[in-house]
Symmetry: C2
Subunit: 198 residues, 2 copies
Amino acid sequence: MRYSSTSIEAAIEALSSLPTIGRKSAQRLALHLLRQPRERVEALAHALLDMKDQVILCGQCFNLTEQDPCTICSSPKRDKSVVCVVEEPSDLLAIERTNEYFGLYHVLHGSLNPLDGIGPDELKIRELLPRLNDSVREVILAMNPNTEGEVTTQYLMRIMKSLDVKVSRIARGIPIGSDLELADDATISRALQGRIQL
Amino acid sequence: MRYSSTSIEAAIEALSSLPTIGRKSAQRLALHLLRQPRERVEALAHALLDMKDQVILCGQCFNLTEQDPCTICSSPKRDKSVVCVVEEPSDLLAIERTNEYFGLYHVLHGSLNPLDGIGPDELKIRELLPRLNDSVREVILAMNPNTEGEVTTQYLMRIMKSLDVKVSRIARGIPIGSDLELADDATISRALQGRIQL
């Protein structure tokens, strides 16, 4: 069933093209916006366009930024001898949140997925190697713990083999605050493999 | 943790002001939009503003429409002797979807909720009575099955008591396709009270 108003339908259509927003949610959002004063809808529309117009990728690490190089790459406080490779800007943010990592980043903007036609050229992989000059002593691979992340990790390890740089990957295991009983088999298996001698 | 880009933060802020969208979802949506071509973001922004500019309330039934009176009120095929009162435009849509109701509607745009300061004057209740002229023989109350809907139903029944019009309400009971076992006590109790002699 569709609204007789074509502009409501168009808005619902546009909203439901967003990830995780189905037709029902889109409908609810559209009706909510109709109840708001015009300024609120304007503010949302402009915020989205402004973001699109102002945000660029850092020419060094490919993080989202409004200035190039980004605040992390240009900070004198960051340790330029370590580069942490992540899939997405949101992963970078998750690591920054810990306040425990002070090196640089390299954002791939995805992970290798041959089935979906995502090869090395679709990611910022080619751009990683020239960064690994003499001043970089360690590359930390922080891909997501899934098949695509695993494939990407293996690929990066292979192409960095010949370089004189230490390559590490973040640990997998039982998440802190979780329950061993609740962890899936693959996680427990990884936790066992990655056991640390005390 | 926040993005160093203020325009990303502004977009996330605007998106998370929408109902059911928290900071995490807003972040995901913003990053998704950043990956889209500018035209896609423009299309979304314009669809929202166009909707806001073009949609008005029908002067008779207060449904959302781009023409006044709306297509339902102005249709010669609709039975003008029955008026179904609903809380929201989405409820009207849900009833239209059945293809079994051919009367008119009256959209209240909410339900009575004294705790939130929603009294009769905040809803389109005052506008209902003048519509109940001689040609209307039945008013169907189709409020939501919750406290506010119940209060609204009771209020409407009271103010329509003196009018020469049949007032009915939609049935409550076990939903079709559901399981008696899965229904909550209140629903089962209503289903028993509303039993129909065979």
